[in-house]
Amino acid sequence: MEKYERSQFNLGPQHPALKEPETFKVVVEGEKIVEAQAILGHTHRGIEKLAESRDFEKTLFLAERICGICSFAHNANFARATELAANHEIPERANYLRVLVAEMERLHSHLLWIGVLSHEIGFDTFYLLVWNDREIIMDLLETLTGNRVNYGMNQVGGVRSDLTPEIKSEIKKQIPKLYDKLVKIKNIALNNKSIIARTRNVGIISKELAIKTCVTGPTARSSGLNWDLRRDDPYFVYDKMDFKVPISTKGDVYSKIILRVEELFESLKIVEQVLEQIPEGEIYNRLRGKITGSAFSRIEAPRGENIHFVDYRNDNTPYRFKVRAPTYANVVSSVEVLVGHQIADIPVIVAANDPCFSCTDRTLVIDRDTDTKQLLTKAQLRKISLATYKEE
């Protein structure tokens, strides 16, 4: 076989195959990847540091901005961590509502992922089909919370908007419709030849590698780790819900598709159960005063184990707020499995973990004057843009 010379290229930070800015430094021999490295940090916003100067009511909204897709997972997790730190009970109805929104978010997030993956393999018809069906869920989320993204649903001590009988019947009406759409999506996703050709036996994460790189969520479950926090460390009211945790042992991208499609049906089942079981009552029990204590809270976000740690020292501003988003745990594994694959497989393998780099990059304040870098004010930016467009 012909021996190729080694060459290195950077994929990203701005690249059509990546939906968010992230750099992958890849060394190739011909088309074959021999070394890969991820460079993180392009979307740092300094949320952990910022939280140290805001009280918990404001930090709650800051936490929501960690991620645009699974914003509810971060928002609810921060609220839960603070409630745990303060030993504060919340009304049961609020817990049910949190489960409801969390599962609706999982539905839209998984559908989004199936769309993105089919787009990465060039199957745009399916991508648009899935995203069109996803609108049903987005509309329901908007009806219930008032927003399509960043729902602003939680408060420390409960939730903000209630499930009225009208909204309840609207959701109930849409469930059978959504179920039919999911069946259709499942048939295409699992049987289409193009999808199978591009994803089967691609990017295999073995069980050993999964344990060693500490992966979470659907990535872990597709590698045979039977682990779902909703079942194994129940929070909110998941202990009252009846659902299955699908697992797969293959570890390739195709098994991740099967897994997420199965999870869609389970989430829909949970939504139905919440609507049946939800008790009447209050939705908000306000937390007042200063808090002393620290707490870990971990919940199963659509992408996996999401951890928030808070430490309050007789104050209502966290002394320390730490976030570990699921992509942060999963990105190491996707870089390890790139080796041995072709360049064309990079988008598929990277997308397989459903990466959310905004979640991953969140820690730092980059608001600094150095000799070479200067931040532009809004007025300056406006001036530049006006000048640019005038020229055209």
Binding site: A81, L84, D232, A295, F296, I307, K322, D367, R368
Partner: protein, 147 residues
């Protein structure tokens, strides 16, 4: 401390435990000396325990930096929280990067708090190139507006 399940417990020798406290979220936090961390984790990994490292939290207490390691056992999903305190004059600890997943968490603490992890290949995760000698997550660090 033992997490029991048909002999698959995670074991820490009693003489290594300095103090045990309980968090408000009910986790038991076991304080150990920085020097015994690697030995404990090595023992778990090499005896084929399925250990998951969820995260490492660094807290700056202005005289010392506290590291909290949040582990989980894949056999019974119980958590195990280890805490170790590094005084400002000796900010050094052995890396546990035999669990590959720990590298990014250690790297983040190295750049944000200035803790040296012996044996970790990664010491820069998020900060831009050329950022040296300043540790932004320390309480004493202020941005240019003094916040």
């Amino acid at each position: 401390m033992k997490l029991e399940k048909e002999g698959l417990e995670l074991h820490i020798d009693a003489e290594k435990i300095i103090e045990t406290t309980i968090l408000n979220s009910k986790e038991e936090v076991i304080q150990i000396a920085p020097s015994s961390l690697l030995e404990i984790v090595e023992k778990w990994v090499y005896t084929d325990r399925k250990i998951h490292l969820s995260t490492i939290v660094g807290i700056d207490n202005e005289t010392d930096i506290t590291l909290i390691y949040y582990f989980m056992n894949h056999d019974d999903f119980k958590t195990l929280v280890l805490k170790t305190v590094l005084p400002y004059d000796n900010l050094e600890i052995d890396s546990i990067s035999l669990l590959t997943g720990s590298a990014v968490y250690e790297g983040e603490i190295a750049e944000m708090f200035g803790v040296k992890f012996n044996g970790n290949p990664m010491n820069k995760v998020f900060l831009p190139d050329g950022w040296e000698g300043e540790y932004p997550m320390r309480k004493s660090w202020k941005n240019k507006e003094g916040k």
